[in-house]
Amino acid sequence: MSGYDVPRFGHGSRVPGWDQAADLTKDPAVIPDSATTLVPETLRAGIEAAMAKYPERRSAAIPALHLAQELHGWCSPEAIEQVACVMRLTPAYLISVATFYDMLETRPKPRNDVFVCTNISCSLLGADEFYEAMVAAAAEDPDVGVRSFECLGACDIAPMASVNGEYVGPLETEDAAQIIEDLRAGGPVLEAKQLRFRRSVDPGAVGP
């Protein structure tokens, strides 16, 4: 864990967007008119169902963005506009919400997500090394995006990762290649290490 990279912020920073000017040829982004915005029917129905669950429709913003991301692969401007049209919110409002949360992507991303926890408990047990191995293993695969993530709430299987939502661990370096292989095969990923099958370690937790 030694030798941190010291970021020197300069022009071409790594905070995307900071250096972006508005495109003055565009029209202002107001709430899209349903007369001129095409929204896929499944998405519209999904969002409307989500809105119906809450006393205020705005509450459905995150669920709606999840749905749009599922459909479009990421929260593309088009996806955001569709959500905005159904929810009667401005696209800017939704992009503001989407960029706040780590799981909503406002840039194109690979189809498969591998979130490697590199927070404290996992890194004590070698998460940083695993993360590097995972990045290397996925380097050739455009369908797999590897991200280091903050604590995913599974330090009991540290070091661990969430592969498309499936928690796996404890991981060793070799598992990285296996994850890629399993993803390609399309079946379960690292089935033996899936958290869902893990039993409680508490000796007093009696179960049959």
Binding site: M1, S2, G3, Y4, V6, P7, K53, Y54, P55, E56, R57, R58, S59, A60, A61, I62, P63, L65, H66, S96, V97, F100, Y101, D102, M103, L104, F115, N119, I120, S121, S123, L124, L125, F149, E150, C151, L152, G153, A154, C155, D156, I157, A158, S162, G165, E166, Y167, L195, R196, R199, S200, V201, D202, P203, G204, A205, V206, G207, P208
Partner: protein, 442 residues
């Protein structure tokens, strides 16, 4: 050594399904509660003196009694965001015994006179959310949720809301904003959520574990529940223990047992030949303790007396194979990443701390930088809008205080590595001044 309430039979196959849960006596407590008056149920919760299991440790019954009475829309929100590093107990509860949580929510809402409830679960807990969703559907089906529950005058709706990845949404007011479909920025308090929370209505917010305990309090009787644990920390607590221990995982303990029993007795302590260097008793936000503190009783007040906190009940053990500098750096980076950015001391303070630690590692620091770093932590604490800033400043500050000698060694070693010898090479012109201690206040 351990009393089991929440974890009793937790691994029973199919417990997540209504049928099994009921077979084991599930929803009996709800029947008992509905047969009582709302006041009596609240009375039980007050008598049990159960304190919140999410972090702040505030008495649940008291919180309910702050809710205004009357006919307005009131809300219950279950905090299932569980993002505090080292914490994973709610995950196991929701995955394995979702109906216990639902039952707790219905009873608590009854006691508080609430008609609408939500579970805010972190977006990463996809599997657990699916399980909860199925359980909620079953509970509606069986009449444990919905209109006039079990023929009583109590009605409750329950909606599962998935988050999307932001630690700050565990903070109760950030959670409310997020649940309202906004960025998860914390709100100013007062007004407290109990007075003005979700959609401006009075709102009760409790952690998964707190709510899951409610059916047991009703089942056992509050007085008996309060027998467990200590005078001011009643009941059992799920402890998530991780890091350098041999058997990481969740353990249910009676509050007040010596910490050593958890770390060594239950979790097996660090690997052979290693010893505990430092440990976080209540998630990464808690000021660290050292191997000298292993005998502190594990309860709210004893830990507070030791200068730290029980927090979410997550113990992270760091053994002597690790550098404290790296631990501090991980911490600072995490909080900088998760600061919502709304208030100045947290946003800038966490980032400044990260930069200082990077400078140390790059060999560009002197021991005096530790003073600046410590003072920056002091300036964060108490000055932020919510306590996320404090959550970095307290552990980092405690590390500087307790491990100063080691940090100074790292500074020297890093300078050596970087080939920077004398201090003049390190301190940029004009800055030596700034190091020279406090300046006169105007």
């Amino acid at each position: 050594m351990s009393i089991h309430i929440l974890f009793e039979g937790i691994d029973e196959p199919g417990l997540n399904r209504l049928e099994v849960y009921q077979r084991r006596g599930g929803y009996q407590a709800l029947r008992t509660a509905l047969a009582m008056s709302r006041e009596d149920v609240l009375g039980e919760l007050l008598t049990s003196e159960i304190r919140g299991r999410g972090g702040a440790g505030f008495q649940m019954g008291k919180k309910i009694s702050f809710l205004p009475r009357g006919d307005m829309d009131k809300y219950l929100v279950c905090n299932a965001d569980e993002s505090e590093p080292g914490t994973f107990k709610d995950r196991e509860l929701m995955q394995k015994s979702p109906h216990m949580l639902i039952e707790g929510i219905v009873i608590a809402s009854y006691a508080a006179g609430i008609g609408r409830s939500f579970i805010y679960i972190r977006g990463e807990y996809d599997y657990q959310a699916d399980i909860l969703e199925a359980a909620i559907a079953e509970a509606y089906e069986a009449g444990y949720l919905g209109e006039q529950i079990l023929g009583s005058d109590h009605s409750l709706s329950l909606v599962l809301h998935r988050g999307a990845g932001a630690y700050i949404c565990g903070e109760e007011t950030g959670l409310l904003d997020s649940l309202e479909g906004k960025r998860g920025n914390p709100r100013l308090k007062p007004p407290f959520p109990a007075i003005q929370g979700l959609y401006q209505g009075p709102t009760l917010i409790n952690n998964v574990e707190t709510l899951s305990t409610v059916p047991h309090i009703i089942r056992m009787g509050a007085a008996q529940y309060a027998e467990i644990g200590t005078q001011t920390s009643t009941g059992t607590k799920l402890v998530s223990i991780s890091g350098d221990v041999q058997r990481p995982g969740n353990y249910e303990i009676a509050l007040g047992i010596p910490s050593r029993e958890i770390i060594y007795g239950l979790a097996g302590g660090p690997a052979d030949g290693r010893e505990v260097k430092l440990w976080f008793p209540g998630g990464s936000s808690a000021p660290v303790l050292t191997k000298d503190d292993l005998d502190v009783p594990y309860d709210f007040d004893s830990l507070a007396k030791a200068g730290t906190m029980l927090g979410s009940g997550a113990i992270i053990v760091v053994d002597d194979s690790h550098r404290v500098l790296d631990v501090a750096y991980k911490l600072a980076k995490f909080y900088a990443h998760e600061s919502c950015g709304k208030c100045v001391p947290c946003r800038e303070g966490t980032n400044w701390t990260v930069k200082m630690l990077q400078r140390i590692e790059a060999g560009e620091a002197t021991p005096m930088d530790l003073d600046i770093m410590a003072s920056v932590q002091d300036e964060i604490i108490g000055n932020c809008l919510c306590v996320l800033g404090d959550a970095m400043a307290m552990p980092v500050g405690s590390i500087i205080k307790k491990f100063r000698a080691e940090l100074e060694e790292h500074i020297e070693a890093a300078r050596e590595r970087a080939g920077i010898g004398s201090l003049e090479n390190v301190i940029p012109v004009g800055v030596a001044d700034a190091h020279a201690g406090p300046l006169p206040v105007h």
